[in-house]
């Protein structure tokens, strides 16, 4: 099963990379953007026995730094 972990900066934490992307998009002439936030997508190819608790643990212990980041786990049901 494919599991996707999205790691994003917490609301209120300044995102320098998102800000730079925002400016670059404006430089390209794209208007109407209020804000841009950048994050990470980590794809896990896990055996069926890997449960949500284990993925949570992975997020807390390594994949995200919960001081500054949030994470969201998405199971890709049916994905090979």
């Amino acid at each position: 099963m494919k599991i996707r972990v999205y790691v994003t900066l917490k609301a209120g934490v300044l995102d320098p990379q998102g800000k730079a992307i925002h400016h670059a998009l404006e430089g390209l002439g794209f208007a109407g953007l209020r804000d841009v936030r950048a994050g990470k997508l980590i794809e896990l190819d896990a055996e069926d026995g890997v449960d949500d608790g284990q993925v949570e643990e992975m997020c807390r212990r390594l994949l995200a730094n919960t001081v500054i980041e949030n994470y969201r786990i998405e199971r890709m049901e049916g994905a090979a």
Partner: protein, 224 residues
């Protein structure tokens, strides 16, 4: 003073740090590879050097914090052994939760590599014993992820307990409250972004870093 320098794949200030320690203490530190699960006995100081451990993969310091040697470092820190993390070493110590907060990408995006003025906020620690409180010193910085962040309660606590050891005189990287270096609760772990090991002899151009190592030697060198 018996010291050890931890070496990760991607460390690049390990030799500078070893040179500085040898120069000041007269004793060469043990160089300990990250795969080791134990440290030499009778250590007074563990130094975690700057560099780009594991290529800064995932987050700066995140992979190194999980190295086998870090379990031994954690145990030693709990016993009261001095631990000094510089630059990437500071990032490793926060990721290992030996110090609170996190070091994020510099607010200005750019890698910052220059000499900066710092204020010594706490001169009572073993690391800062040879400085005067409020003294302004100059040390080089060279980092991409030096933007120190923690929640307001943590910052207030650090300030209130005198655990902000060093503060940038002017904004350098977006750090909350211009924090450049912090101590743990017990005062035996210091993490700092500036590089004292690059400022220990006249040939470096700057020498303000030397007193950090001298302070440690003075404190440690005379067993209680």
């Amino acid at each position: 003073m018996n010291s050890a320098v931890i070496v990760f794949p991607g460390s690049n200030c390990d030799r500078d740090l070893a040179e500085a320690l040898a120069l000041v203490s007269g004793r060469a530190p043990a160089m300990v590879w990250h795969k080791e699960s134990s440290l030499p006995g009778n250590l007074d100081l563990i130094a975690v050097p700057g560099g780009f451990s594991y290529g800064d993969y995932l987050r700066s310091g995140a992979m190194a914090a999980l190295s086998p040697v870090m379990a031994a470092v954690r145990q030693a820190a709990a016993r009261g052994v001095m631990v000094l993390g510089i630059c990437n070493g500071f990032q490793v110590l926060t990721e290992a939760r030996l110090l609170p907060g996190a070091l994020m990408r510099n607010a200005g995006i750019s890698f910052v590599c220059r000499d900066v003025a710092l204020r010594v906020e706490n001169s009572q620690s073993a690391f800062t014993a040879r400085y005067d409180a409020g003294e302004e010193i100059v040390l080089p910085v060279a980092h991409h992820d030096g933007n120190y962040q923690a929640d307001a309660a943590t910052l207030d606590r650090l300030e209130g307990e005198g655990r902000v050891a060093l503060r940038y005189a002017d904004a350098v990287n977006g750090s909350a409250r211009n924090i450049a270096g912090i101590l743990n609760e017990a005062g035996n772990v210091l993490g700092m972004m500036p590089h004292p090991e690059r400022a220990v002899e006249a040939a470096h151009g700057l020498t303000d870093g030397r007193r950090l190592f001298e302070g440690l030697l003075e404190t440690i060198g005379q067993p209680a």
